[in-house]
């Protein structure tokens, strides 16, 4: 196999092109768009992935939100090739395919004619596609199809679909992003709101067993009740309250935890933890 002399970019590798076409196909397949075929010519080092985009079948108001959604689907497919190429070959992007660029521009112009808007829109969809392509599942499928493509030369839409359905995705780590039906976040169990609610109006000194320094520091910052204390993050207490150092902060945090109370960022961390555990309980790709 010889590299054609007609190629303009001297750095372009065969793998770039294969990943490019495979990414178009995989993103189209994952978004439920009909692929006509994927063609790759080893002699010419050229590829094509014609598809029937959502905008090709769109009927209705072109300035409406449905048109925007359909256009974004097509734009993601057009962007996928170049984005995957860049992700695969981290050092450079090796030029843009003009076919993809014109496809993007035409898709956008169905919906809007304002050029600065189209630029910003295209940039946003490119970033969204990057996030989509970098998902472990999508990227595994892209690499698998890129390896398969040279064996066939031309793969029909049905063949691509059958091949991608058979790609095994390791399920060691569940996918944290872009889930279609995320499981509901379980309610707080460690600290029922009812239990803490009674403490909110009470004085800090009555509820928490604190050292003299801690009591004086909180009083100096006009933090008298538990509710007022829970409005401050640990950072606020450490850096905004006078005379309150690391040891005193640790003491306050320990006391609050002992009573099942949590400062704002701890509540956020706890929520994140619950979300993560809920997602891990249910693998997406079995």
């Amino acid at each position: 196999m010889k590299r054609p002399d007609s190629l303009r970019d001297p750095d372009l590798q065969l793998a770039d092109l294969l990943v490019h076409e495979a990414a178009h196909a995989v993103v189209a397949w994952e978004l439920g768009i009909e692929i006509l075929h994927v063609r790759f010519d080893l002699d010419e080092w050229s590829g094509r992935m014609p598809f029937i985009g959502a905008m090709n079948k769109f009927v209705g108001d072109l300035s409406g939100e449905n048109a925007q959604t359909d256009a974004e689907t097509d734009m993601m497919i057009f962007h996928a090739g170049h984005v995957a190429q860049r992700w695969f070959n981290y050092a450079g992007s090796h030029g843009h395919s003009r076919i993809d660029l014109w496809g993007l521009m035409r898709t956008c112009q169905w919906v809007d004619r304002d050029i600065p808007l189209i630029d910003a829109w295209s940039e946003y969809i490119e970033e969204r596609t990057r996030v989509f392509v970098q998902r472990r599942t999508t990227w595994t499928r892209i690499l698998a199809l890129a390896a398969e493509l040279p064996r066939h030369g031309v793969m029909s839409g049905a063949a691509v679909s059958a091949f991608l359905s058979g790609v095994r995705i390791p399920t060691t780590q569940p996918e944290p992003r872009l889930r279609r039906n995320p499981p509901p976040i379980p309610p707080e169990t460690s600290t029922p709101r009812a239990a803490t609610a009674g403490l909110l109006g009470r004085a800090v000194t009555d509820v928490l067993e604190l050292s003299t320094r801690a009591r004086h520091s909180l009083a100096g910052a006009r933090i008298t009740t538990i509710a007022e204390l829970l409005l401050h993050s640990a950072w606020d207490l450490r850096w905004r309250v006078g005379g309150l150092g690391d040891k005193t902060l640790a003491e306050i945090l320990e006391e609050t935890r002992r009573h099942g109370l949590r400062l704002p960022e701890e509540r956020w961390i706890d929520r994140q933890r619950r979300v993560r555990s809920a997602r891990q309980a249910e693998p997406v790709y079995a």
């Binding site: 808007l117 189209i118 630029d119 910003a120 295209s122 940039e123 992003r177």
Partner: protein, 204 residues
């Protein structure tokens, strides 16, 4: 959602009116409930209270884009109405409110930035397209000081029913275009990825 501004004395006298009129007009257009819009203190203070719930990231992106378009409209109208191509002093962009609404949908910083940029552009186009309505609401707001969502809807209905309505352009000020690279800020000197139109060399 609550947007509250206090302007400096140097601000354009209509800046605040445009800001709140655009919020109100776009919200009314999208069917978002407005509790009150108010401007007082010789156009120096203003506030809008509307029903824009925080979404938890599971809904359709279109819904949050609609909310954010209504939020960004204030900034874009203020810029457009006062003739500035770039944000100036006293241009209140509601960025905190915007960020809070978009963050549940993505954790990727680059995607978030690009999304906000896109929604600002989308709002700018919306504001330019509906400038007549926004200017009308701003005029009524200047006279009434306080309006409810029903008042805004009635004003818009009256405006659209009027067969003699003309084209309204921003008041008195010429459009100030952005500077070119040599006189621009440092931000112009930083390399950025070429945009789609730059790659294709498309001009409007």
């Amino acid at each position: 959602m609550r947007c509250r501004i206090q302007m400096s004395r140097r601000a354009h006298p209509h800046a605040l009116l445009y800001h709140y009129a655009a919020h109100a007009m776009v919200m009314a257009q999208y069917g978002i409930q407005i509790f009150s819009v108010r401007v007082h203190g010789v156009r120096r203070h203003g506030a809008i209270h509307a029903d824009l719930p925080l979404r938890d990231g599971r809904e359709n992106r279109r819904m949050v884009e609609r909310d954010v378009a209504a939020i960004c409209a204030g900034f874009e109208a203020q810029k457009y109405g006062c003739g500035h191509a770039r944000p100036m002093a006293d241009c209140w962009d509601d960025s905190g409110t915007t960020l809070k609404r978009l963050e549940p949908f993505t954790r990727d910083g680059a995607e978030l930035s690009a999304w906000i940029q896109y929604l600002h552009e989308r709002s700018r186009v919306t504001v330019m397209r509906w400038w007549g309505e926004i200017a009308t609401v701003a005029h009524h707001l200047d006279q009434a000081h306080v309006m409810t969502g029903v008042d805004v809807s009635e004003i818009l209905e009256d405006y659209r029913r009027n067969p003699f309505r003309g084209t309204v352009s921003p008041f008195r000020f010429p459009r100030r275009e952005e500077h070119g690279t040599p006189t621009g800020g440092n931000v112009d000197q930083i390399w950025s990825r070429p945009t789609l139109s730059e790659l294709l060399r498309v001009t409007q």
